[in-house]
Amino acid sequence: MTSPRRLAQSDSLPKPQAKRPRTLSIHSATLPPSARSHVAMDRRTPRSATAPTARRLVIRPYKEPPKAPDDLFRTAWDTQLHPAVLAVYKSAPVPFSLEELYGKVKDACLHKHAPELYTELRAACDRQVARQIAQLCGGTVEVDAFLRAVDTVWRRYCTHMLRIRAIFLHLDRTYIIQGGNPDAKSFWDMGLHIFRVHFSSAHAVQDRTVKSLLEIIDRDRDGESVDTSVLKSLLSMFTAIGTYEKAFENPFLASTDQYYRKESEKLISESDIPTYLIHAERRMREESNRAISNFGARTCAPLIMTIEKRLVTDHVELILNKGFSAMCDEGRNDDIKRCYDVLSRANAHMPKDSLDAHEMMKARVIAYVKGVGRFIVMDREKDSQMVQSLLDLKSRLDELVQYSFNGSDTFHNAVNLAFEFFVNARENKPAELIAKFVDGILRTGNRGFSEEELETTLDKALTLFRFIDGKDIFEEFYKKDLAKRLLYDKSASLDLEKSMISKLKAECGAQFTSKLEAMFRDVDASKDLMQSFKTHAASRKRLGDSVELNVFVLEAARWPLSSQVTNVKLPQSLIGYQQTFKSFYLTKHSGRKLSWQHVDGSCVVSAHFPKGRKILNLSLYQTIITVLFNDSDEISYQDIEQATGIPKQDLKRTLLSLACGRVRILQKRPKGRAVDSSDCFVFNKMFEHRSTRIKINAIQMKETVEQNAATTERVFQERNCQIDAALVRIMKTRRTLHHTALIGEIYSQLRFPHKPADIKKRVESLIEREYLERDEKNAQTYHYLA
């Protein structure tokens, strides 16, 4: 035994000397007397004669080691140790000094009585615990008191064990920890073990404890105030004795399961979904707090899972069925967000064969949007508001996705999908209305709106346009409106026009906008042309300055112009200008053919009424008729028709605008709301108006029905041609192709919606026209006929 080792001992107690010293042992006086070696002086053997004077001190061990009395341990246990243990258990003062007791224990250990001591001690413990647990068995105290009793037993037991351990520390250290007996547990562990054995085997006690605990947890859940310290303490007891999982956790999870199963079923049938969701969210928060403070991390996960399962997963369908579309309708984004968040917790536990909760939610969103959108699109009464309604819907949904669904891409796509579905549910009309909507913006321009706001509105309209399958329909209507804007100078801002074109270009490619851009070029070129016409010396000489002529030279194929040939007779004064311009133009561009579109012409006319001079903004037709009245005051319908050559329909409408509109520079005889071929028209001498510049609106033809149908028809014709062209193109390269393959190729080539039946019809037509033939053996295969 060396001193460093000794110092290293955590306790200051000396180690017992196990071996007898062989030669010399000088130990300190702290050695207990029983262990002290004997120092003896041997005088019998003088060492040598050579050194008679030297005296040696020889130390020899005892021949027989001293023996402790046999009954040393028994006496010590019976008289002192056992009573001491009992006293501790009774929480009474120990009648012996602790040092003395400690010494006894040490003696017992030194004299190899440790196993006996251990056994005795264990037996004593065992008896004590058995007694304590048995005490808990009886009695019918209520839950709290019972738990407190158990808690007290446990706490006291722990205190006692600590004290007893202090007394028997030597035993603990030497016999148990140093491995004197591999079966023996450290004193503390032994204590826990004993407690566990008794506690677990006394089912009445353990079950009652667990049940009581569950009861107070449920009471806590119900909102009663509960002493959680007992709960915590007892849970740590279960953990300490190692039965937490088996005895407590499993029943606890089961009871939680049951509790929330009951609660959620009750709540979901009684309250509305938003309330339920708030509740569910609160519950989950509470439980996770409870779990963290009481149960420790291990229970936390399964507990939360159980709750999520019962509160959310079980009711996903119901939550979505019962309240979802209502929430969407009322724009309760907060509730929907909550719904989304809550459902996201269900995702982990959805049954295998079921859809992801968010997928289910997505399906609802799609269904909802489809429903709402379809209603808007199909409501023919409200066609005029359709686009605005759709834009409102879109921005509402965008906000919803952004806020409530965390901007999830899946939901974004879902909304888009739904839009695509219903926007195309009603063929062509939405495309037309979007074009009209854009026209409206480009016409009115920034009346109270900044350029930026208009751009945003256009962008929004474009997002709708993106969903449209029949982009060609949009193009056709857009083109028509653009033509009007350009020719009548109705466009609010050229910048805005150009920006719209570039937007369309970005969306659909240059091919889509090339025609539209060409229209702009025509208009620009015409302006230049007019500039040079005005400075053209020869023309000027012929015309003088009395009339200013403005001509748009447009390439017929690019503009949606009426192809109707008219024999309108211009007044003599204008014919000269027309001729001059024509010859001017043809000198610049020989070989071209100019055909005049009188229908779309307009004039500014200065009129002298008896009551004053007015500047009239008239259409060309109106002008032609008005000019007739320069020569006579009263002209019959027949004469007007003859003199002007304006087609009947147009003539009647024009006369109506002059004689029956808001501004009447002519009077009709007899008076009436319709123009008849027997009517007569008289110059209104009494005409007066508060402003000098007057625009007499042409009465617009009811555009909706016929013209609209014509525009649509044009698109369909165009589509047929495109299908034919694509079919021939494909067959020409492939020569022989199976029907399915042909349809597949066609799909990739066509850029508008089409049904297989449409294509089959075109194929049949091509067979009929002998571009294609069917294979003789296999009717599904086509050959190209060169």
């Binding site: 029907h739 399915t740 089959k760 194929v763 049949e764 009929e768 069917r774 009717a779 599904q780």
Partner: protein, 218 residues
């Protein structure tokens, strides 16, 4: 009818030698128009009467097919003579005797197709590519009766139609009649190259057939 010509001559080879060409000429002269070198509607009627054939019966059409007549309701001299030679008949009696066997030859699938396509060209106006719908309505029961399970439904379906039947559609109708099951279940509208008219017919017929089946089940 390219495919068909060989077969016609082959089948009649045996009897060709015994035909009296003059007798056939006489027979033709008996029924032909006075001013022209062909048998026209009246002569034809007389001819079929003499042969005890109802002009509305399929036999008359089969006869025209065997003659390879090019123009509706007209037999030219060469058509008539060549036809009779091929049939090995130089008298009314012999013709009458050979007629039943002509009908039997329709039992051969290929022959029937050639006959079927002949009927299209023979019945349509020369200047048109398609078979007018009214003609089609009369022709189909005559030639497809007993060969197309849904012939009645088909005719009923055509009632509502205005467009003429194209050659393509006409030709594929035979395939349809041959290959499509009674319940139309094996008709693949999505992927099939069937003409649109047949697609429409299936849409029209399916519920009706289902109805009939229900009634039968009851």
């Amino acid at each position: 009818m390219r495919r068909n010509s060989n077969r016609l001559s082959r089948s009649q080879d045996g009897s060709r030698n015994h035909v009296n060409l003059t007798a056939i000429d006489d027979l033709f002269n008996r029924f032909k128009e006075a001013a022209e070198e062909k048998i026209e509607a009246e002569g034809m009627q007389a001819l079929f009467e003499a042969l005890d054939v109802d002009p509305l019966d399929i036999t008359s059409l089969v006869f025209a097919w065997k003659l390879r007549a090019k123009t509706p309701f007209e037999f030219s001299r060469s058509e008539f003579v060549d036809g009779c030679v091929n049939l090995g008949a130089d008298s009314l009696e012999k013709l009458k005797a050979v007629l039943p066997s002509l009908k039997e030859s329709l039992n051969n699938d290929d022959d029937f197709r050639s006959f079927y396509m002949f009927a299209f060209d023979y019945n349509k106006p020369i200047e048109q590519r398609s078979l007018p719908i009214e003609v089609a309505r009369q022709l189909f029961p005559l030639i497809l009766g007993g060969r197309f399970a849904h012939i009645d439904l088909w005719i009923e379906f055509l009632e509502g139609k205005k467009h003429a039947i194209s050659r393509d559609t006409y030709s594929l109708l035979l395939d349809f009649a041959r290959n499509i099951d009674y319940d139309l279940k094996n008709f693949d509208e999505e992927n099939g190259a069937w003409p649109v008219l047949l697609d429409e017919f299936v849409d029209f017929a399916k519920p009706r057939i289902a109805q009939d089946k229900d009634r039968m089940d009851e």
